[in-house]
Structure formats: structure tokens, C-alpha cells
Subunit: 209 residues, 2 copies
DNA sequence: AGTTCAGTGATGCGT
DNA sequence: ACGCATCGCTGAACT
């Protein structure tokens, strides 16, 4: 009865039983079992995208003789190992400490490289630019008087971020200021991407260095 | 430019770009990359259940110098390898040929072991038992006159299977025949499981040997 | 082919 | 804590 915390990958001949919200049994065969440091357990078959069985983060894994048992709340996965074909523990697999990388931090990095990102001569940058619809994350003004209206998201930008940018831009349209709308984030969802395309907004791939 | 078909697992320091329905970039770091024989590509971070990036079955993977590139329709994943920490090719990882294991086949197996599964003395089994609501997959009659009403599903039983069983049982209730309802399948969904619990049906884990 | 719907959906952001 | 919207959903059954 040994608790396992380390992240590892295991390729083995085994049979698997799951009982919880649903139930299932997997016939003896070769499966790929992945265990992450947060307790996540993934059981993959030879094909298809989906896992066959899993536990979400927070599950606890232990070994009992030739069984691997993962439990979480009311859900249990029991793996009956018949033959271990390959076992590997992942060194240095931890979330880089993203802490303290706030949007403000990312914004500073963007300001530093703003000319390169927009490929234009920027003469002024104004964070938290006030509008009646709320403060714009960043406004950059080019030498030709063009206003870049920039919405920044630390994570994946979703539809809400794109519509937020649209609101700001409608204000600048009201005061007849020439603008270009930009959404900047490490990733963008399909919905937000389509919204941007339809409204002529740009997306900039920025990432916390 | 070498096309890769074999299934493998790769743990590497790399950066990754995805462009398709959505877009994203992954900062340089350690990621687990899994490639299946059907083209499926999975990219996992150190925590969480979800993949960070993926390609569904049918994608094509190739290597160009220090890049791994997976393409499918309008979607591309480009992996820039910096350091390979661990690489392993999976031997014997293929879908066992589930040849033509129809529900009828499974039913024959169930009939053979019916006494053991139900833990009762069965004196007669009737496949395709006709009722006004459709044919019951299997009816087993015990020495005490109890009727086991059995609905069989080759794959995961979903809600529809459970309600189907309920319909049959309502008929036997009409003719005042004492019954016990069973759903037999290798897996059962949460909705079907709850339905069974609420109506007092049983679930039997059966699998094609 | 498209369409609909369940899934152990997960995950993040709001209250 | 719970609820809600979003997601490159996937996958299977049915038309």
C-alpha cells in the first residue's frame, strides 16, 4: 500500500475497472497510463483522441501488489497489472511558477516591444486609457495619428475579450478617431477569432517570456 | 521531410505553435507528446486533465530537421524541438481486431454463463422474446418462475438502453409477471446508471472475451 | 453526407 | 461554495 506522487508514464498489459458516476471494464490488453503530479490519471487505448478511463486532478494513486488504484471522492479506477512493458518517470515536470505574471506584467512587456509587434512608429503609449465603456488596457498612438486599441488577456482570449474590444472601438468610432483594434494573448478561441475576423480586428500572439 | 507512422511517446523541451480553428503558442518548456498509429497527436502539460494541443485521428506527422509538424485539413501543429529527454516507441499497440463481434455473439456468450452472471438457477433462456413494445434481447427464467428481462449493448450503454429496458418491464408489469431488469454491457453511462438505480434495475459488466 | 445529442465532459470566471 | 458560458470539444447513432 504505497502512495505514488511522482509523474510517470506506464505502458503495460493490464485490465482495468472503473466505478463511479459511470462504470466500465476494459478487457486485458496494452494500454498507456499517464500519471501527473497533480493526481491526474489518463488511460489511453491504441487509437482515438479520447481517454478510455481517467481521474481528474486531485485523485490519489497507490500501489497494492500488482494493482494500481486511483481514488477520488466516489470514483475508483483499479488497474490489474499483468506485464509492465515500459515505465518512465518524468524529471522536471512541474508547472513553471506562472505566479505573479499578472496582466500588468504582460502589458509592460508589450509596451517595451510595441513598435516591433505593431510594426509601426509608436510615439506614445497610454495604459488604462479611460473611455465611457471602461478603461482600455493599452492605447498606442502612431506618428501618423492612428490609435491602436489593445485588449490584453493573460490566458486564452475568449469571445468576451473580443466583444469587449468591440465596445471600446465603438466609442472611438463615435468620436471619429481613426483606430485599429488588437487583441493580444498567448492563445485565442475559435469564437473570438471569428469575431475578430468579421470585425477587422487583429490578433497578436504574446506570451510571458 | 520524413513521415512518421509509428506510435510513440516523447518527453522533450520544446516550443509549440498551433494554427487552425483557434490559435495558440506554447512557451518553451517540458511537454509530453503522444502519437498514436491513427495519427492522433496529444500534447500534455505537467498538470490538468486536458491536453494543451492536439490533432484528432487522421492527422499526418512528419519530421523536418528539429521540427515535428502535424497537419490535418486546415489545422497545423508545429513543434520546435530543443532537447529530447525521453523517446519510446510502443510495440504491439494496435486495436485488437474486434472482428464482427455483434450483439448476437455477445448474447451467446451471456447465455453460456447466464447462471453465473445472475447467480440463480436458470431453466430456460429465450432470445428475442416478443413483446408489444418490441423484442427483448434475452429473457431468462429461473426455477422459481422469476423472469430476468435482459437488454444487451455491445458498447457503452446509454440512457436510451435503460429506458428501452424500462419499456419492456412495463409490459411484464401489465401482465403481472414477476421480473428483474438487467442491462448488460461493457460500460454504462452516468445517466443510464442513475436511471437503473432509480428504477431498481441491475447492471452486468459483460465483455467480449 | 449532415444532424443531433450525450459525456465520469473540463475549465475558467463570475456570484 | 455554486452556477454559467465556452470549448479547435469528441464520438456515436440516426436521418
Amino acid at each position: 500500500m504505497i502512495r505514488i506522487d511522482r509523474p510517470f508514464s506506464l505502458y503495460a498489459t493490464c485490465s482495468i475497472e472503473y466505478e463511479g458516476r459511470a462504470k466500465s471494464t476494459l478487457t486485458p490488453g496494452n494500454y498507456l497510463i499517464i500519471h501527473k503530479g497533480d493526481g491526474t490519471l489518463l488511460i489511453h487505448g491504441a487509437s482515438k483522441f479520447n481517454v478510455l478511463n481517467y481521474q481528474p486532478p486531485g485523485a490519489i494513486l497507490r500501489r497494492e501488489h500488482d494493482h494500481l488504484i486511483s481514488t477520488r471522492k466516489n470514483e475508483t479506477i483499479k488497474i490489474h497489472l499483468q506485464q509492465i512493458i515500459h515505465y518512465y518517470e518524468f524529471p522536471d515536470w512541474s508547472n513553471k511558477i506562472d505566479i505573479t505574471m499578472t496582466e500588468k506584467h504582460l502589458r509592460l512587456q508589450i509596451i517595451e516591444n510595441i513598435g516591433m509587434i505593431l510594426n509601426d512608429a509608436i510615439i506614445e503609449t497610454i495604459p488604462e486609457f479611460a473611455t465611457p465603456y471602461g478603461p482600455v488596457d493599452l492605447v498606442a498612438i502612431s506618428s501618423t495619428g492612428l490609435y491602436y486599441i489593445i485588449e490584453i488577456k493573460r490566458n486564452k482570449a475568449a469571445l468576451a475579450g473580443a466583444t469587449q474590444l468591440g465596445r471600446y472601438l465603438s466609442y472611438f468610432r463615435e468620436i471619429e478617431q481613426e483606430t485599429q483594434g488588437w487583441l493580444m494573448s498567448p492563445a485565442i478561441s475559435s469564437g473570438a477569432l471569428e469575431y475578430c475576423r468579421k470585425h477587422g480586428f487583429h490578433w497578436g500572439s504574446v506570451r510571458h517570456a
